[in-house]
């Protein structure tokens, strides 16, 4: 079954790892990157999470908005690179690249609204991730692995570029914020009323800055729209794989089932594999009941403590397996791969290689 992920890292061009928070998504993404590099491919792992998790998992100091090579990972000509998305830097790059003249770029980059707010506009971070995907795709990487942001709404990532475009397409945006797109500003009474109301709430200065910003942006929305279409096409490409990452805890199992159902129902993506991280291991065939009985029998001796310990571990393993069974029975054919809890937390390349060996064995 685990040949699924082997094939994914050997043949696909893009892998999107998504799933509930706190389940080891970053570790899985990094481990898939290691597996790809070992299979001779030039791989980059892109993390959208601003936390240091990916750098920690790779055991390196820090990551930037450009790929950094992780030395000593690849074989057969493969290599592993990693980067952490900086939405603000990416937005700045886009503004410089797409503006029709340097003055337009300058006007946008120095606008107070842009400087304080635009970097965190709803969906901007995910949109910029899509931008980076296209860029990395063209930069000669054989495989891009994306570690999506945590959170319940992992599907947001897929929708983000559409949402930003929807923002530009919004009737109010077109008539109010970019007035030249709409009716003549002077006669647009509804727009004026809206601006006055909004100014009463957030202050006239912010409104003036925002209107300036969106006016300066004029013409660039078309580029945004076109790129958004390309990102959507890339996400829907047969060479793109979706991997859902979860843990055996009942709440994350439920979240994973919900996510897979949403992805399928909305026709967005077929999940190629589900990875269940940190499954409690077993130490022989003994049942917890039997071990508890022997723990009583040997009470007060070293063996009593060992039987009790194994009983506790196996109770946890039983609960984990029940969760995994529930996950399997809710899925038709999607393979479910399990990675055992390792004796140590994974925070270096050796640990990642071990995780990878469980996933692509």
């Amino acid at each position: 079954m685990s040949s699924v992920l082997r094939s994914v890292v050997q043949t696909r061009r893009l892998v999107i790892c998504c799933g509930p928070g706190g389940t080891g998504k970053t570790t899985t993404s990094a481990a898939l990157g290691v597996a790809g590099a070992k299979a001779g491919r030039r791989v980059v792992v892109l993390t959208i999470d601003p936390a240091r998790r990916l750098a920690d998992a790779l055991g390196i100091d820090g990551l930037t908005n450009e790929p950094t090579e992780v030395v000593g990972v690849g074989s057969d000509g493969g290599s592993l690179w990693a980067m952490q998305l900086d939405a603000r830097d990416t937005f700045d790059e886009i503004v410089r690249t797409w503006s029709t003249e340097p003055a337009q770029a300058e006007r946008i980059l120095t606008n107070p609204y842009y400087r304080t707010i635009a970097g965190s506009l709803s969906g901007t971070q995910e949109y910029m991730a899509g931008e980076k995907l296209l860029e990395l795709h063209q930069a000669g990487f054989d495989l891009v692995v994306v570690d999506t942001p945590p959170g319940r709404h992992a599907v947001d990532f897929l929708d983000a570029s559409r949402r930003l475009v929807a923002f530009f397409d919004h009737r109010l945006y077109r008539t109010v914020l970019a007035p030249r797109h709409g009716l003549l500003r002077a006669v647009n009474l509804a727009a004026q009323a809206f601006l006055r109301s909004a100014a009463r709430v957030v202050g006239a200065e912010l409104i003036a800055d925002a209107v300036d910003f969106f006016a300066a942006f004029e013409g660039m929305e078309d580029d945004f729209r076109a790129r958004s279409v390309r990102v959507q096409a890339l996400l829907g490409d047969p060479a793109t794989a979706f991997v859902v990452v979860t843990s055996p805890r009942p709440d994350t199992i439920d979240a994973a089932i919900g996510l897979i159902a949403r992805l399928a129902a909305e026709g967005r993506a077929t999940v190629d594999a589900v990875v269940v991280n940190r499954v409690s291991p077993r130490f022989g065939p003994a049942t917890p009941a039997e071990d508890r009985r022997r723990s009583d029998e040997y009470a007060g001796t070293p063996l009593g403590a060992l039987f009790r310990t194994r009983a506790e571990l196996h109770e946890r393993a039983t609960a984990d397996e029940a969760g995994i069974d529930a996950l399997r029975s809710s899925l038709d054919q999607t393979p479910v791969l399990t990675v055992p809890a390792l004796p140590d937390d994974v925070h270096d390349l050796r640990g990642l290689a071990e995780v990878a060996s469980h996933m692509v064995a």
Binding site: P20, G21, G22, T23, T26, A51, R52, R53, D56, A57, P112, T116, I117, S120, L121, S122, G123, P149, P150, R152, H153, F167, H170, R171, L172, L177, A193, F194, S197, R200, V201, V202, G203, E205, L206, A210, S247, R249, P250, D251, F283, G284, R294, Y298, T301, P302, L303, G304, A305, L306, F307, R310, L313, E315, A319, P343, D344, D345, V346, H347
Partner: protein, 309 residues
Amino acid sequence: MNPATFLSTSRLVIVAGKGGAGKTTVSAAMAVAAGSEGLAALVVEVDDHGDLGRRFDRVGPLGAREVTLVPATARSAEIRGRAILADRALRTYLDGHGLGAVTRRLASGGALELVTSAVPGLGDLLVLGQIRQLVDQDPADIVIVDAPATGHAMTFLSSPAGLARTVSSGPVHDQAELVAAMLTDPKRCQVVLVALPEETPVNEAIEAAEALSELGVSLGMVVANGCTPTDAELADAIEAASVESGLAPPDIEGLLAAGTYAYGRQVDEADQRARLGAGVGAAVAQLPRLAVDDIGARETALLARTLLG
């Protein structure tokens, strides 16, 4: 500061941490602990499908209307709970500022969504504004907030200061200043950080503690959740069983492997707890890992007693 003193000296406690760390459980346990100290508590969740109700054996998420979670008895003050939702907060705010008519007219065109997407952090600010109102007006002795899990809880806490700078005038500016003043006043507001005793969560908790200190928000307490204490008896047992082969059952290898694995995890976890304490520069309270995953009122009460020690 011990947890009982901490609770009795805090008016607003914001429980923050990454998703999966057990913020909701800790919020509920703190409320029960406060109640048993004779403090009437209001516990608030900022999530439209949160589990806070479940921690008190209620079915379904809490709504905007407050409910009694634990009635007042001889052994506990009353504990009430409610939710505050970001999407409704803007409407409530506009209504409260005499902008109700504008709101209704605009809401139909999706303008409210446009405004909240064009002014990031506005939703968080309005939620915190409502919390500030509760802190000022609610009869409870302590208000406990289960902060949102998405992304960094720090975004939630930093939006007021950010908006106070960005929005230079008007009611949003005033609101942002008032909320920021509340958050940075240690007499009024304390944050509790919840983290699991593992490598990455501990790193994140240390980063969060630094971020709080930059924001000027007081970190009152850190809770290491899901702890398994180091079992010295187990270490002795592994050593003894390895030599006393006379006692050994046929499957001694599996037993020793289980013991070694469990003890190794315990030692690793103790290291992480020590690193957490050193890294955050605050007292670390420990809550045990429970055998059950579904935490109801009984487990919440147990954790509350553990918190109070």
